[in-house]
Amino acid sequence: MTEAGTVLIIDDDLFMRISIRAYLEDSGLTCLEAGDGQEGIEAVLRYRPDLVVTDLRMPGVDGFGVLRALRALSPATPVILLSGAGEGAVAEEARLQGAAACMAKPLIHMEQFLATLRALLAPGPSGGNP
């Protein structure tokens, strides 16, 4: 396994961040955390992570807000939206706004989540830095 990449996890729930971070780090990825949207955007600008995983519903700047900001400030950084309200309309909206993926909470199969991340981190036409 040649792991590479830094993932920023934005979620207002500490336990959510912990559990995702543990899984990703166990999988060889480096993780950063942010507790809300504003903090997340600042972290992206400062640390330039390779990928951002953000919760949708957060106080202040929400997941869509993060998405919109990053499309403008850091268009190359892929963003995965985690939605507690299923996929459907939210997923469609997320894709329209330029999210790389939209996944429903709870993440019952973490392997699938990991696979999605890895696909986006792998250098190639579907993602990664140019």
Binding site: D26, G84, G86, A89, A104, P106, L107, I108, M110
Partner: protein, 661 residues
């Protein structure tokens, strides 16, 4: 002055003069005129009957043997008249004069005196009959007065009157007659009309002929009718005409007397009133509610068209009948409300009154209100069948309930999905960190002096993986429920495509046959499924996966219900699809136990279930409802009763609003 024999009672008349003829005496005394016998030469009264006492005021004893010319009597007010009479009698033997006599009380009065010269006992005498003319004069005056009055009545009467001869010439008209026809004066009208005759006053001369035929039939019998007459300016008027055949007192010729009244305005009012009556009747008849008028004895005075339809009794039968014979089921309530109306002097009503009609329970709004204004006492009863409306209201309430649940679901899903995520992710982390696959695990185990293979054995021994599995399963189930609740709030985002509903049904049935749960627990194979699809059904726009879900849920619901049938009762599910003008109708009829009203009312409510725990989430029908009603603008209803099975009906519009296909 010598006394002469007299003809009065108690005095025998002289035999030589009158004889003793008693009959003569009776005639003499019984004459309605005064009779007096006087001597021609000096006027001395020889005989007088009693009537003369009344005429002159002098008793016979005072006069007999005296001359009325004597100064203290002076009965002749014009003595010259007597001289003339004497002269006449001397030449002609008989005369009749009008003269004036003086009554004893001094009043003068006219008399007619007819006299004849006779010889009595060789002496020239005069027999005079005297008639008091005062009564006659008075009668004449009365006649003159009444003629005058009649004329002024005729001329001044506010009603138009005329006299015409049979040839149609006006003989006489009054001012009102000239006025009503628009002539300036009586003379002008007489002159102008008589140039051609009265026929020119009629719009249609045949009307006049008809009138005349009636009038001429019987003299003195009047004929009245209405006709269109023509004014001087050519305009037309409606008139009430009364005509009578009579005789012209002057010429003795038959003539026609007529009265004319312009009723044009009255006719207009009548037409207006009639129009008003008709439009009122129309309004009352067009009312979509039953309207019944009752007098204070509950006898029907009004019965509108709806009342006819509702009761099956035509208005002409119902009018005048007591209400309790016509609508007995309503009578007690109407009577109770009427008592309240009488007491409070305002309307009273009952809402959603449940009544059995034609074996069907229905709901009625009943209102009774008092008749106000100058009418006879009574009430109006207003009956409105609100069964459908109440049903619709229930459906709307149900839909609103579901919508609010939908809104709630989004927030709920977020709040529950987060902890669920943490649980499941934590569980996966734990599993992962207990395995020997991760180098970090091995390092940590080495440092702690732990044999990971032994630990794995231990976990197996203590069934830890089983507990991990139960966490997985439970979180999965919870997430599934949350996902379904979320479906309630799903906005129709997916594209609708035209699909053959029949194919969806067949697909669902194939799917259901392979459903493990349905197969094993509910013996789906033992259910007789009949399908009836109308031929040439059109494609219907839908999100196929959603409608599939709906039908699947309905089939599952039916199969689960059928499981309650006793073994000897065959389990049957009939699925039909047919076309209504603008929609497709899908019906699923089962012969299961059916449902009571309490269950039926809540059947589309989320989490409402009659099945034992674990058989379902209680969301299947609510999700189906939302998909059909909200996402597809169709309808989902159920018709059921205990022991009668259940029939679910789905309608899908063929051309939905906002169709973006």
């Amino acid at each position: 002055m010598p006394r002469h024999p007299r003809l009065t009672k108690g005095h025998e008349p002289p035999r030589a003069a009158l004889g003793d003829d008693r009959r003569f005496q009776v005639i003499f005394e019984g004459s309605p005129n005064g009779l007096v016998v006087t001597r021609l030469t000096d006027g001395v009264v020889l005989e007088r009957n009693r009537h003369m006492e009344t005429i002159t005021g002098y008793r016979n004893e005072e006069i007999l043997g005296r001359s009325p010319m004597e100064a203290d009597l002076a009965i002749w007010a014009r003595p010259a008249d007597r001289a003339r009479m004497v002269r006449d009698l001397q030449t002609q033997g008989t005369t009749s004069i009008e003269t004036v006599l003086r009554h004893r009380d001094g009043t003068l009065f006219p008399v007619l005196m007819s006299s004849t010269r006779v010889e009595l006992a060789g002496e020239p005498c005069v027999v005079s009959a005297i008639r008091d003319l005062r009564d006659e004069r008075r009668a004449e005056q009365r006649v003159r007065d009444s003629e005058l009055r009649l004329r002024s009545l005729f001329e001044g009467a506010p009603i138009a009157m005329y006299r015409a001869d049979l040839s149609g010439r006006l003989l006489q008209i009054n001012a009102a007659e000239a006025r009503v026809y628009g002539y300036d004066s009586i003379e002008q009208m007489l002159q102008e009309v008589n140039r051609t005759g009265v026929a020119c006053l009629w719009e249609d001369p045949r009307d006049r002929e008809a009138f005349m035929a009636e009038v001429l039939a019987v003299e003195g019998h009047y004929h009245q009718g209405e006709a269109r007459l023509r004014r001087r300016d050519g305009s037309s008027m409606f008139a009430s005409v009364l005509m009578m055949l009579t005789t012209d007192p002057k010429t003795g010729q038959p003539c026609v007397v007529g009265f004319v009244q312009d009723i044009t305005q009255r006719k207009q009012y009548e037409a207006e009133i009639e129009g008003l009556r008709i439009s009122l009747a129309n309004i009352i008849d067009s009312m979509p509610a039953v309207l019944i008028g009752l007098d204070d004895g509950f006898t029907v005075t009004q019965w509108n068209r709806q009342a006819e339809t509702f009761s099956g009794v035509p208005a002409q039968t119902a009018l005048g009948q007591p209400l309790d014979g016509l609508l007995p089921e309503f009578f007690p309530s109407v009577a109770a409300l009427s008592a309240e109306v009488a007491r409070l002097q305002r309307s009273a009503s009952l809402e959603r009154m449940a009544l059995e009609r034609d074996g069907e329970g229905r709901l009625f709004d009943l209102m009774v209100y008092p008749l106000v204004g100058k009418t006879l006492p009574g009430v109006v009863v207003h009956i409105n069948d609100v069964t459908e409306r109440a049903h619709m209201q229930n459906l709307i309430i149900q839909a609103e309930k579901l919508m609010s649940v939908g809104g709630l679901a989004v927030g709920l899903a977020h709040e529950i999905n987060n902890p669920l995520g943490i649980i499941i992710q934590a569980a996966q982390n734990i599993e992962r960190r207990l395995s020997a696959d991760l180098p970090a695990n091995r390092q940590a185990a080495d440092a702690a002096g732990l044999d990971l293979a032994a630990l794995k054995d231990y976990y197996k021994q203590r069934a830890i993986p089983q507990f991990m599995e139960s966490i997985h399963t439970s979180v999965g189930r919870a997430a599934d429920i949350v996902a379904r609740v979320l479906q309630l709030s799903r906005t129709p985002g997916s594209t609708r495509v035209p699909v053959r509903l029949r194919e969806v049904v067949e697909q669902v049935l194939a799917l259901a046959a392979n459903d493990f749960d349905l197969k094993k627990r509910y013996d789906f194979k033992g259910v007789e499924v009949h399908c009836a699809f109308e031929p040439d059904l059109p494609l219907v726009p839908m999100v196929p996966s959603e409608i599939e879900h709906v039908i699947y849920n309905l089939v599952k619901n039916a199969v689960q219900a059928l499981a309650a049938n006793p073994p000897e009762r065959p389990r049957r599910l009939t699925i039909t699809v047919r076309r209504d003008p603008n929609q497709l109708v899908l019906e699923l009829q089962d012969n299961g136990p059916g449902m009571g009203e309490a269950v039926c009312r809540r059947i589309f409510e989320p989490f409402f279930t009659t099945r034992p725990p674990g058989s379902g989430s209680g969301l299947g029908l609510s999700v189906a409802y939302m998909i059909v009603v909200k996402n597809h603008k169709g309808s989902l209803t159920v018709d059921t009763a205990p022991g009668k099975g259940a029939c679910f009906t789905v309608t899908l519009p063929l051309a939905p609003e906002g169709n973006n296909d």
